[in-house]
């Protein structure tokens, strides 16, 4: 179902980048389908898609090694797919089915896939950051060459949990990478209204943490920066703050009328900042090529909806399971 892992980590062939393109497109089509199904009234819960941010999910996750773990956010579909959860399992979760990656207990904001190293999406902004420091501490304790990676947004850098988690990670020199997806908005609140600095990588100065800036619409750049950051962390040199500039090309949540930003601004951003457009141009993909890939991923996405709909509804009493170990 998923394309093969990039063979030679660190260098990227054209074939690798095509794989990236395919995965990014899969995520895009998956999320568009989620939007469609939500509007059709089929999906319960609160849903946030990351359309425009696919290059971050794919660039970072492809750079990971076996054994590395991630923690995600309310905007988790892309990270989850990129970390290896199948579209079927993800879609089944959104439909609240037992076959879902959280067996119907989690939903879109609580996607887990522990076997594949996904320690969970978190609906509390910043909520997963301390556990990332903690997972990295466990790896350090055990001398395992693993890295813990947290995704979070620009808005999350305002919360105390962020501060305490990065401070502690740096102090203890644990193998963690903190991936800040700066999409310039926290719900309806623009960056300038929630953050008193322009360069978000300055946050890391308060901890003396290595900071790396990267263009999040360029998957190759994200991949390479991630490789470096991961190597740094893995080799015991301490955690890294990866400041990724990116764009949310849609509303905060599905159904968001976006009264807080102008249609023109949004239109322009969509036209200039789509990571799929960028990669397509770089790879010089023909319309035919794109169409073929698109057909392929669309099929996968459609199949996932089929799978999900045919999935098993939990029994009401199942709600009383899984509370205690």
């Amino acid at each position: 179902m998923r394309v093969a892992k990039v063979e030679q980590k660190g260098t990227l062939s054209d074939a690798d980048l095509r794989d990236f393109f395919r995965e990014m497109l899969l995520i895009r089509r998956f999320e568009e389908k989620v939007e469609e199904r939500f509007r059709a009234g089929e999906l319960p819960g609160f849903l946030h898609v990351a359309i425009g941010q696919e290059a971050v999910a794919v660039g970072v996750c492809r750079a990971l090694e076996e054994g590395d773990v991630i923690a995600s956010t309310h905007r988790a579909h892309g990270h989850t797919l990129a970390k290896g959860t199948t579209p079927n399992e993800l879609m089944a979760e959104l439909y609240g089915k037992l076959e879902g990656c959280s067996h119907g207990y989690g939903g879109s904001m609580h996607l887990y896939d522990v076997e594949r190293g996904n320690m969970g999406a978190n609906a509390v902004v910043g909520g997963g950051l301390p556990a990332t420091t903690g997972a990295a501490l466990a790896f350090k304790f055990r001398g395992e060459p693993r890295v813990a990676v947290a995704f979070f947004g620009d808005g999350a850098t305002n919360i105390g949990t962020f501060h305490e988690s990065l401070n502690l990670a740096q102090l203890w020199q644990v193998p963690a990478v903190f991936v800040c997806e700066n999409n310039h908005w926290a719900e309806s609140t623009p960056g300038w209204q929630h953050m008193p600095i322009e360069d978000i990588s300055q946050r890391a100065v308060a901890y003396g943490m290595k900071a790396v800036k990267v263009d999040g619409q360029d998957v190759e750049a994200v991949y390479k920066a991630s490789r470096k950051a991961l190597e740094h962390a893995r080799s015991g040199k301490g955690p890294v703050f990866l400041a990724v500039e990116t764009y949310r090309l849609v509303g905060h949540y599905i159904g968001d009328p976006q009264v807080y930003r102008s249609k023109e601004e949004l239109q322009e951003t969509r036209e200039t900042q789509d990571p799929l457009d960028h990669l397509r141009a770089k790879l010089e993909l023909s319309d035919d090529e794109v169409e073929e890939i698109d057909r392929e991923v669309q099929e996968i996405v459609d199949a996932s909806v089929e799978f999900a709909k045919n999935g098993t509804e939990p029994k009401p009493e199942d709600a009383l399971k899984n509370i205690y170990a």
Binding site: P44, S188, M195
Partner: protein, 328 residues
């Protein structure tokens, strides 16, 4: 008599207070352009401007604590915590600071701040966006705690909370925002600490809060068809608690059901049941029934979610159980 939804009633109380009093302002995440995640403050930015309708960063501690500091200087801030679950980030400020400054200073200070928040199951938001945590705050001397269930109540109680000189934690229920009611043109403040008898009855008293008030009312109607006369009382203010009204009602009916959406164990119903069994012991003909969420986090899948939280039929079952008991 205009018709207002619960959402509009909250907005009306906020807007009137802000019109009349420069010391009142509101702050919270995405309350400005977006009008809050539940649309409660929609339009207020236009009327009052960004200084008094303040979008905050995602910083629940500072959001709560800044409101506390401004209140200590005599302002009357209303701070919105977007979801009750995020109160967990602000408990230090609410519990150790707001609740205690007056006391620790030996009466020098007052902290007239209101913390509005909302929660509730029913939309499958999952375990981190739907908890009902009002019981925690009832345990903390120095705080007042309000949980309103109708448009007129929420308007009158919010007004009183804003003008109360103490910190108030003010709970709204997500599924009630659309509920409509005719309300008087004039805002009638409702004193904190007064329960409301929604419906009189003789056989059993149901004491309910928030969404469960409405579930209790439908259960009562159903029960009536079965020949059971149910009194439904909403304490509205959980702290201070109008024990007298609750106890008097149970002394009249001799049977009691307590109902809320929060987890039953250690929920607000535990306090009510304890008070009632103590003060109406000789009147009780049956054990006090507690109705609340089953002991589980909120699951995502709708069938499970619905199973966990209580509904009218759960209240009805409890009514039947208590009436089915022989009296003493």
């Amino acid at each position: 008599m205009p018709e207002l939804s619960y959402r509009e009633a909250v907005r009306d109380a906020l807007s009137r207070a802000m019109r009349e009093d420069d010391d009142v302002f509101i702050m919270g995440e995405d309350i400005a352009e977006m009008g809050g995640s539940m649309g409660v403050t929609q339009g207020m930015l236009d009327e009052f401007g960004p200084e008094r309708v303040r979008n905050t960063p995602i910083s629940e501690m500072a959001l709560a604590g800044t409101a506390i500091g401004a209140a200590m200087q005599g302002m009357r801030p209303v701070a919105e915590i977007m979801y009750e679950d995020f109160l967990t980030l602000a408990t230090e400020q609410i519990v150790n600071q707001a609740a205690k400054h007056r006391y620790m200073s030996g009466g020098q200070l007052s902290v007239p701040v209101t913390f509005r928040t909302q929660g509730g199951a029913g939309w499958s938001p999952g375990a981190q966006h739907a908890q009902q945590l009002e019981a925690w705050f009832v345990h903390i001397p120095g705080l007042k705690v309000v949980f309103a269930s109708t448009p007129s109540d929420v308007r009158g109680l919010l007004w009183s909370s804003i003008y109360d000189d103490n910190p108030v934690v003010f709970f709204e229920h997500r599924t009630l925002y659309g509920l409509k009611e005719d309300v008087p043109d004039e805002l009638e403040p409702i004193p904190l600490g007064q329960a409301r008898v929604h419906r009189e009855g003789d056989d059993v008293t149901v004491i309910a809060t928030g969404r469960l008030v409405h579930e209790a009312l439908s259960a009562a109607q159903e029960a009536e068809g079965e020949g059971i006369s149910v009194e439904v009382v909403d304490p509205r203010t959980l702290q201070p608690l109008d024990e007298e009204t609750l106890v008097d009602s149970v002394k009249k009916t001799s049977r009691c059901v307590v109902a809320h959406e929060a987890v039953t164990r250690m929920g607000f119903g535990a306090e009510v049941a304890s008070v009632i069994q103590y003060s109406a012991f000789d009147w009780l003909d049956a054990p006090i029934e507690r109705v609340g969420a089953k002991f589980a986090p909120l699951p995502f899948a709708p069938v499970m979610e619905e199973f966990v939280v209580p509904h009218a039929n759960d209240v009805l079952a409890a009514i039947r159980r208590t009436v089915g008991r022989n009296g003493n």
